[in-house]
Symmetry: D2
Subunit: 360 residues, 4 copies
């Protein structure tokens, strides 16, 4: 069951990184919606790493849709899709078949299943996120009222400061790092280049904002909006932390500082501050959703490392294959996709239980 | 559906904070396990605030079990339980019926449901966690191999440093704040007292470790161990952030520093460091699980606040009722409970998919 | 997980027949609906056997609601309820603790769980249906457009013929057997009395019709309306068969006879015949839903029976306890309840995926 | 959500009858099992109609596996597969785009979704069962102890009598109708030929037995073994009834006749009769599972029929396309597949809740 997410709007993914294909099934799509498939393909293209920063793996990632559409209009039936794995190089991994790479899932996967895909990361590979991105780009299209924007906020010690109330995807995509501040982008690139040179990798923080979301989405107990968003984002490879609103920093504020006072803005209810990050008691309050996601430096480094093989014998590992020195820029559309999937589900759940469209 | 968590080991909760009772149903309990109900009651007692720190709400919280047991042994059927709400004081809330308290769920709940419980926080109240704690204390008993220990790590700016490999519940419970370092406990108490005096509230960080967990629990995609743990912990009232292992701090490390090298320790596989926090590719690796949870300062403060009522009219709010200046100490058993619930589910899921064949 | 039914409108039940209580939790209730609780209690009262036909077990079955309501209005939160078991007589069962009663679940339950409730049927007892009836009487109230009527159609070889397009609960309740035809009722009573006299039991068929259901509820694949209705009704104790529309009898017709031709009736689409039983391709077509449910004769008979004990030793069993000679009359409200629960779920699922209320 | 079945062993299907492909995803497969894919292909081949009886639609139905296997061994990850629709003839359906065919899902599908696949039956088409058959043939391979055999028991008024304790697939496949009694097979063929000649269709009954199933599978409440089997089988196109054990016929027996007395047979517990059909209180008792499934005559007949179009105008319908005069023979492997899927799920659920502790 761990290959599905959502309750009414439900996404299933399948595929190993070096198998024939990765793909997914999107269930619960409202019928009669004409999808812009070019937007879905564009989302996949955004996920492919820029040559200057990426792994060098060349995937064209052409989406093939198998079901659920008629003249690009949803039938209300499962939309299945796949993307062929065209550039898998299992040979790069032959030497690793019996090695437990540090901070990879080789050992833990074998501990669970007794075996693992001989090459690549199997299901835990970032390759699986192709399916998430396609599904997310579909989910977005049933949420026309919501604008979801992610960006690279930090790379290692380089920290940007962007205004979540105005940032756009256009801003973000203007910089190679997907940090929209040109000066910070330059610094980030320098850090990435330096790490790459050293055969090393760097991590960072992706932030994401959702504007235009009506109040009333989310559940008050286990499926709080932040809990389901956290679930979705912590399920991404390399993620080690998640924050909503003020996050860890908010623990340093007093209640009198942290509380978001309600006020009217014309006819609309809003809050003067947004430490809550757009969610109160698990339910959206109409203010922008604000999240942060921590990505560790990826585990595949070119420097030699000490580890053991599956016999327990110490060995020196030298990873070849193609790997990113920094995954943050390509993580941006993946983060956006997961957010869209979660919101689409809450939207349908809300409509099922509470009926009629949200009126804000 | 937002009132349930887990897939095979499944916990449902019910009850409004000022309704007749709160309670839950624990489904999926393996049959034939003799439960120590005194441990469950003790967990509920740990959740009741110490008088020096707590809200003054006096709940004896006596657990009543309605089903699922015979001579305290599980029948494999749903274990339903309830705890009566004996000390609800709806009158304290009469003046608040039409007021949207800052950073509470009053507004967002009405936006979703069109109405809300007139008094207390309804389902989003911390009162609901009574059911989680009882369920968690039951979950622990099907995980005899796992030792789950939570503690208060930070209160506002006071930060402790405890060794997750040795900390015990006995250590933790020796201090009123549940920070086991006596010197730090004293500083934390000073901060809490000062905030209380000022009619204000403080937040902080709870950390939790799980020792003794076997390798192999968790799923590689959407239900990664950290994703389901994050889901569970972000579903607690007042939580704004979650970290596994190195968390946000880990984004400042290079891959060469962050990677956890495998080595043998006698017959056992272990890693030299544990930046992964016991999870790799979503699956436990046999090292201690390490998590951190950020709690914002609670929203109910005694200081007057500006807000609006449900007509949009500005008003000055003065909260009475009984509220904690700091929830962190009583959050500790709640965090432990959620962790236990998640692990019990993964344990049964593992056994279902990967376990042995029936022999009868 | 086997203690829940439904996806959006979700009913959980708990309780052993001779434990402290039976009860349930109804999740997914739309908010803001004022429930008529007298109707729920009345449904429970209909389930209590008439003295002339029943088991002699005296349960007043008073419903206690624990959550989810404010001034009888749904909050959109889980509605938990319980009914105490006041008349359990475990002593009647003491002699049976090690006996596998024929056609009861004693053996199969032990085979699964390794143990079983020492007295009564545990979860598989008809006592559990108290919770279903309460939940169903709530479900009905979110389906004001649908009229659900069940009746006893056959007892052993006595077969009635009632018009599903006009039958009402008032008709049904006028006869002790809940077969609304007075002449057939008399024959059925004679059969039941004769069986009772002989220390034996009889089975029969309950039919159920739903009028007023809009077209468009149900799913085309695994959750066809008839599949989920069949699931719900086959989950009742003693049920061995289920039919929708023409059922088994329909297999004797040619396609040219069985096909239901569409025609207009004023502005409404209808079919000239209704062999489909109101469902086509898994989705309601606006015609009355028509179902039949086969109940075997109950297993508890007063006649001595040969069986074995849990050591495999042959013994002669003489059941005491209180048991019905015929459960059919009290099965009627239980069948209606299960139908209501299934329809409520499909209604919310429809609204979630397809939006707005069905307009037919 | 209506496109999935099962809880731990979970099958998702996708694909419209005249879209690019039909396929599915099998989740929850135990890892390390070497699958015999030839058996899966053989199951698909059994589903293709024999020329003498079938629809004339020529599908080679070649299975393509996209994920989940390495050297034919399960990785414990989702096994996705597809079968291309090679012989779809949408042109046959052009004239039907605005017609509501009698007893098809055209009208009800539009009532739900507002639109439908212009050609073929969309998701409700028997074409979707390709995915079920493939998934079922995989499910069987994790149940090596169980022997599942289905056969055609009745065609219209021709009724066979076969011994469920000895019947085999080899017997069944020796006759074109899949009724293993040669004399009855001849009569059935005569009936089918006669109906075909008349441009008409016939229905019938498929029976299925499972031998070798251990006692202890199933749940005592909503997910009784018979309830989940009934759900699965009633979700097949054209099914109008389901029986377990004595079914409707059993309602004519007295309790004293119907009860299955336990006895020892060597070391094994068995019952003298098997009116229960292998299930008591929802849980298997180790005796053969015995089921019957009623298939109505298929709705596509060559005879002209009166119906209306989507404007409500009366029209005379003359169906072309390729359709079976009798689907029963090809329903046999489909019934077996659904039974295997349900049993695989109960097997994993049993192991999850009741199985052994992890030893690593």
């Amino acid at each position: 069951m761990g290959n599905s997410i959502g309750h009414l709007f439900r996404v299933h993914t399948f595929g190993e990184s070096h198998g024939p294909a990765v793909g997914g099934v999107v269930e619960g799509l409202p019928p009669g919606i004409t999808l812009d498939l070019a937007r879905v393909q564009a989302a996949l293209d955004r996920r492919i790493p820029a040559s200057a920063l990426g792994s060098g793996r060349k995937e064209t990632d052409r989406l093939e849709i198998l079901s659920g559409l008629q003249d690009n209009t949803t039938l209300g039936t499962p939309l299945a899709f796949l993307v062929r794995n065209q550039d898998a190089k299992p040979a790069d991994y032959a030497a690793l078949a019996n090695v437990w790479r540090p901070s990879h899932g080789d050992f833990s996967t074998e501990a669970k299943y007794g075996l693992r895909a001989r090459s690549g990361g199997g299901r835990a590979s970032a390759r699986e996120t192709v399916a998430r991105v396609a599904a997310g780009a579909i989910a977005e299209q049933i949420l026309p009222f919501a604008e979801i924007v992610g960006w690279v906020s930090e790379i290692e010690n380089v920290v940007s400061s962007c205004d979540p109330t105005t940032i756009t995807r256009e801003n973000v995509d203007q910089q190679l790092t997907r940090c929209p501040d040109p000066a910070i982008d330059a610094q980030m690139r320098a850090v990435i280049d330096e790490a790459k040179e050293a055969g090393d990798t760097v991590g960072g923080v992706v932030r994401c904002v959702v504007r235009g979301l009506p109040a009333g989405l989310g559940d008050p107990v286990f499926d709080k909006l932040e809990a389901t968003l956290g679930h979705a984002l912590l399920s991404l490879p390399a993620v080690k932390g998640f924050e909503i609103g003020s996050g860890f920093r908010g623990t340093r504020l007093r209640g009198s500082e942290h509380n978001d006072a309600f006020e009217m803005s014309g006819d609309a209810v809003r809050t003067r501050t947004n430490h809550s990050g757009g969610v109160q008691a698990g339910i959206s309050n109409g203010m922008p959703l604000e999240m942060a996601v921590a990505f560790k430096p990826v585990a595949s480094i070119r420097q030699p490392q000490q580890t053991i093989d599956s016999e327990g014998e110490p060995i020196t590992l030298e990873v070849r294959g193609r790997h990113d020195a920094c995954v943050l820029p390509r993580a941006v559309p993946i983060v956006e996709a997961m957010v869209a999937i979660v919101l689409a589900d809450h939207f349908l759940r809300w409509r099922g239980q509470c009926g009629e469209a949200p009126t804000r």
